[in-house]
Symmetry: C2
Subunit: 240 residues, 2 copies
């Protein structure tokens, strides 16, 4: 049970790591996690661990990444880990313990075991889902300007994003709603920016898949709701 908790800080994507105080891998940085309790499922467990161990309660979204199970991934004893992606809004500043710290994913320190691969998977998942879901809600504050949002997307995606087009794409999909209010101008002047919020705070697949879709207005053979991209999509046949 491991969590790659991501947050945008200072314009870059960061991950929360904890410095190991025990062998194996003493002193190296590792993802927070713990063991599954008897009366909880993996998702509740990981949320609980984050609250208990690193005092992190502002996780806006959490989802499974997959099971990492190479027999030798942890030297010494067999450890099978279920990895999660967690996202924290950029305006949250949780007081984490002294042995944990945020690290830019672009410049990870010396990490324990296969945790660097897990972080890479988490980043890939985030990038993919930002494109076809409303997942931005989990990175953004409750209210924000389009350019602030653009900066978050840029940091998460790793490439320039046009505020103009971001606005329109998200608006067309019904993901963003205007609050009617505006932010104050900056010190150098400039038109005050309108404030927006996300319409929902739960993951929704917003971009129905254009490819091989059922004939327009068709019910489908089995009454299924058409071939929209489901909220489940994954798995890297890679690391295991």
């Amino acid at each position: 049970m491991l969590a790659a908790v991501l947050q945008i800080r200072d314009g870059a994507l960061n991950v929360l790591l904890w410095q190991r105080a025990m062998e194996p891998a003493l002193g190296r940085w590792a993802l927070p996690g713990g063991r599954l309790g008897a009366s909880e499922d993996v998702q509740s467990s990981v949320s609980r661990q984050l609250a208990d161990k690193v005092d992190l309660r502002e996780v806006a979204h959490i989802e499974q990444l997959g099971v990492f199970s190479a027999p030798d991934r942890v030297p010494g004893r067999r450890m099978v880990a279920t990895a999660f992606l967690g996202l924290v809004p950029c305006d949250a500043d949780p007081a984490v313990p002294s042995d944990t710290r945020w690290h830019p994913v672009a410049a990870l320190p010396d990490t324990a075991f296969d945790h660097a691969a897990i972080v890479r998977d988490a980043q890939d998942r985030l990038r993919a889902k930002l494109s076809y879901t409303n997942l931005g809600f989990a990175l953004a504050p409750a209210e924000f300007t389009i350019s602030a949002l653009r900066d978050l997307y840029r940091a998460a995606l790793g490439h320039p994003v046009s505020a103009t087009n971001l606005q329109r794409v998200l608006a067309r999909r019904g993901v963003l709603v205007p609050t009617g209010r505006t932010a104050a101008s900056g010190p150098a002047g400039g038109r005050p920016a309108a404030l927006f919020r996300f319409a929902e705070q739960r993951l929704r697949v917003t971009d129905a898949f254009a490819v091989l879709r059922p004939p327009s207005g068709e019910p489908g053979l089995d009454g299924a709701p058409g071939t929209r991209r489901s909220a489940s999509d994954l798995v890297h046949p890679v690391v295991t």
Copy 2:
């Protein structure tokens, strides 16, 4: 460790189920699976189980679906299962043991535990990936006509598929290659169909994501290979 192995049979998507001979859920139909060995990862383990227990070796693709861990999912004792999707080409006719049988996923019998939900997840995953990857290779025989392929897609997707457009979409993406040969005409005549094969027999994401993509020809900020949809994409926050 459970596998939802899917195959198209008689124009419908089927799943391999095994009838339980023990309590709990005696007599109900369940997904094949078993326990993880000490020196294998989950993926090798599930492949091994399929070969050992149901003599199934023709699995063309296998991938993780996720971890199912509701504390009460199996009455009696705590069971956490890692579920997999497996695909068998439609021309394989593996000799499965007498207590296992293929069942249409559209009309599942009385299934044990949460296995019906796992089958639903497997079907969703298959439908999604057929659209944006070359995953068809795992359902199709080595060589096939476009209309045979169309029938496979229709069965898997659950809605009508146009052979014309299927051809063009897959050809443009470089997924299909013509073999140069043709199939014989049917008894009622008709033009003989050209035979094709899949260019690759490994999963590849073919449909680079159109949305929020980096500005054309841009390298990206961190040297990452652009925001293509990664081969990892999933997880239903639903069942766990």
